[in-house]
Amino acid sequence: MKAPLSWLKDYVDIDVSAQELQEKLFSCGFEVEELIYLGKDISGVVVGEVKECEPVDGTHLSVCKVDCGDKGVFQICCGADNVKKGIKVPCALVGATVYATAKDHVTVEGVTTIKKGKLRGIESEGMLCSGAELGVNGDMFDGADYVGLVILPDDCKNGEDVKPVLGLDDYIFDISVTANRPDCQSILGIAREVAAVLGKKVKEPDYSYSVVGGKCDSIKITDEAPELCPRYIGHCVTNIKIGVSPLWLRKRLALCGLRSINNVVDITNFILLELGQPMHAFDLKTLSGKEIVIRKAKDGEKIKTLDGNEFDLKQDNLVICDREKPCALAGIMGGANSEITDDTSEIVFEAAKFARDSVRKTARALGQHSDSSSLFEKGVNEYTVEHAMKRALNLIRKLNCGTVTDVHIDVITENSRLCEKKMTVSVSKINKLLGIDVPAAKMTEILKRLNFVVTENGDNLELFVPRYREDIDGYPDIAEEIIRFYGYDNIKGTFLASGTITNGGFNEAQKAENNLKTALVSFGLHEISTYSFYSEKDFDMLHLPADSSERKAVKILNPISEDLSVMRTTLAPSMINTIVRNQRRGNMEGRLFEIAKIYLADELPLKNFPEERNMLAFGTWGKYDFFDLKGITEGVAQHFNLKFEYVAAEKPFLHPGVTAEIICENENIGYLGLLSPTVSRELALERAAYVAEIDYEKLLKLAKPFRYVPIPKFAEITRDLALTCDRNITCAQLEKEIYASCKYVSDVKLFDVYIGEQVGSGKKSMAFTITFTPKDEPIEERIDGFMNKILKNLEARLDVFRR
């Protein structure tokens, strides 16, 4: 919301600096995002009177003597075609800053500092300026659009700063207005807050008008969609004289960034800014049947708006029609067919309230947004609807551009909310909410400043709420109004003085997750966090078949892009993409993990809440191999006091020979493996990458609580055993057999594998360290027997021999 200081001063006697006002507005909830000083780039430019002006032969230049009052008299070369003796113009002295313009003398290309110079050998001590060079256009100062010099009024004092003369001595407050205060999306709304915070009275705009009469047939207005248009006022004005608006009006529009069109359109735009009420003017003679119908569009109806865009309408678009056709997109933009033109003679002003949602939906659906739609989406109130119409009629008279007729049709539907809001609030309840004691008298004073009508009645305040304050609903709203003017500095911290003591902390699941993270970090892994959504193309990256369960992903209807459009069903793509990103950036090794949710729908489109399941993913690349990654998953098993089994397996995106399923308590809980060379090549990976994914929630469910086991009285005994076996026999088979052969075996650790000539073809040698843990009696003497038994079993069952 942009509010020029000069405009605010029309309604409030502001006696503080712009910076002070900025702070005051901030304190009462209106953050000034930017305070723009209009003349911020202009300095050292003063009023100069051209005393002498001699053309320089053979050039377009004139050499002038310019009287700048107490600054001196300067010789200045000027190329403007309107320079002449006797005029007063802005004169940039040496050292002044002005805007540099392009060859067209209009486009601003930055800020330049004026230097002493020579033009065609003639000394020049400054520059006479155009409007563009000072950032002023014709709407801000008459004549400033001319590509030559701006001519200043004769009564300016030579040598005085031109900024006040040109209106550059002004500030624009760019204010952020919260969603509960649509009434402050207007200069008057901000002025009311300014008045309240400064303790001043607001001078309301002049709403008075008188019906002059004038010959005008009555019109008919029918509201067929009261739920979308609760209130509609139309008023006819005749004898319209389309013309240019006066400077004061054009200037106010210009300060807020709006272009002047003509007096009638400018009136509606002025009211949009001043009161926050969008208005529209129809050319009455274009309305078929002199009729206005507010209705939902018929499927297939078309409209061409003022800006030349054409739209195919649907039933949920609200339109303003005449007897036959749509003439405006309600609350968004008028139609080209009923536009105000230079020969418009009769108009209907429209001031209405359209439902926020309806305007928003239509504006979005059609991609057609305007200042008007933006205000309706935020919400307008009927108090302002009424006043906007009065103000428009007042301005017609003020601009003397038409005759106000008595044709005034006010459609008040059953959805209209006209009544004044009366409420009673308790002083003590307000103070109880705030936690401080604001005296009742102080509350009354603050509320009166905000235009509430207040009657004190014991502990109660009886209130009439200003009709434009639709946000006020209960005593907490009143509490907020009071504290934002009483001052948040008065809120002093207390520590739940009346609260009950509660016991806090992480719950078991969160503790478990934190403990696991600690373990993984100690394994040397770095935690990542990636987006919960990715692309359907990521399933293709994994070469997942069309019917794979992972492809049954929850889709986002309005994603930022296709890359972020499906909720993930596996963490693998996120991990792989992170590895790709790292390698592309030259990070040639890494070990990562992520604990995050996947989203599993029981049916699509979604009927029920999907399951959100925590998964644990790993990714390694660079110097790490399969067994480094397996070492990590083994560490996870240990962390949860579990034993994992690994079974060779295949996955579409993993190397068929270097992939395992992870089994725990007969349940498949995940996989690990080398990214398949095909996928690796498709992703242009330089280093082999390994990924693993484990169902974290299954892990948690299976996890065995840690229990202390008394340490044995006798020392553990270890023996090494080198075996020769068929190459197809797996390590797991041997381990299993060794464990099964003797109840004292507590650990079996492979420490060497040999394949080669010494063991013969088709064979391999594997060497293990076996640990025997005694129970209650010494076992030293029985070890040889155990070893024999182990060997015998291995021999009998797996055809394995001691090497």
């Binding site: 609260g499 806090g504 770095h526 929850v554 930022i560 990562l592």
Partner: protein, 340 residues
């Protein structure tokens, strides 16, 4: 015999003079003191000595043996010393060579901040609650006093899954789930991922929030301020102060924006606080009566406050991270720096 003893004495003195190593010494020792050594054979020769001379000779021989043993021991000691010194000298290493580092991993900055926040609030009696990320319209908006046509819905660009389901835009959605199932006193903290259709240097379509909710008898705005003062001191430093200023959220009334005094410059104004001396860190307010009523909590008996903050924002402020994207890219050069 006497001469012989004298001779041996001289031989020993000579031999040990040239001894080079302890092994060399051992050989010499064996030559004289071994079972078949010079002294032992002389001992055997004692039998041939006249009986009357035997005792004195024996004494002399024993003295020789003792003298030579002591001599050898002394030399051995000296030799070992020298050898050890040499060994120590040879073992000298270049202590400036690099150590063998066992690379530790790292926590994601969000985890660090989340845990820091949780530990602050857990100490004040907050429990943790985590709600679903795929929410329905009711919990994310309607129950939070944001009906369908409410302009506040435009404050957040929502990702929709269907008419009914959406990606939660705020962890506040969890508030309702808690209040439906738990009677006051309630003190919960609800951290989690939230989603908004926003993507630039300071916004990410996914980010994390931490929501706090207190509902009890007689809770006031001053209590909110007190708790946030405590939070700011613990997270940003003892001298950090908070400032409340009016704001708007549909589910709180009054609503406030909470700034902390700049912990970088102490409030004098710097680049971090954009010269204002204050940094906006969270939104908060007194729980709206309609929200309490909707959860069957009597707003005339109970009141409460809620606050919500962006975890990434706090991480970015604390660590001086200038682009939110870095938090989600998993670049190892970034990750390695966060060593909990």
């Amino acid at each position: 015999m006497q001469n012989k003893i004298k001779e041996i004495e001289e031989q020993i003195a000579l031999a040990v003079k040239e001894v080079k190593s302890s092994r060399n010494l051992q050989e010499i020792k064996m030559r004289f003191l071994g079972k078949t050594g010079v002294i032992s054979s002389l001992m055997k020769n004692l039998r041939d000595v006249a009986p009357e001379e035997r005792p004195s000779m024996g004494k002399l021989l024993n003295a020789l043996r003792q003298w030579s043993e002591e001599k050898f021991d002394a030399i051995e000691e000296r030799l070992k010393d020298a050898e050890l010194k040499k060994k120590i000298a040879e073992e000298k290493i270049d202590v400036t060579m690099p150590g063998k580092v066992r690379e530790n991993g790292s926590y994601h900055p969000n985890t660090l901040i989340r845990n820091e926040l949780v530990s602050v609030f857990a100490g004040m009696g907050f429990e943790i609650f985590e709600g679903p990320e795929i929410e329905n319209d009711y919990y994310n908006f309607t129950a939070l006093n944001t009906p369908a046509d409410h302009p506040a819905r435009d404050m957040q660009d929502t990702f929709y899954i269907s008419d009914k389901f959406l990606l939660r835009t705020q962890t506040s959605a969890g508030q309702i789930r808690v209040m439906e199932n738990k009677k006051p006193p309630i003190k919960i903290l609800s951290p989690g991922k939230v989603y908004r259709s926003d993507d630039d240097a300071t916004h990410s379509p996914m980010f994390s929030q931490m929501e706090g909710l207190v509902v009890d008898r007689g809770i006031t705005l001053c209590d909110l301020k007190g708790m946030l003062d405590e939070f700011a001191r613990k997270i940003f430093g003892e001298s950090v102060k908070t400032r409340l200023r009016p704001s708007y959220f549909p589910f709180t009334e009054p609503s406030v924006e909470v700034d902390v005094s700049c912990f970088e410059c102490g409030g004098k104004g710097c680049r971090l606080c954009k010269g204002t001396g204050w940094i906006e860190v969270l939104g908060a307010g007194m729980v709206n009566r309609h929200v309490l009523e909707g959860c069957n909590v009597d707003p005339d008996i109970y009141s409460g406050f809620a606050f919500g903050m962006g975890i990434e924002r706090i991480a970015m402020l604390k660590y001086g991270i200038n682009n939110m994207k870095l938090l989600f890219e998993g670049d190892t050069r970034f990750l390695k720096q966060f060593r909990g």
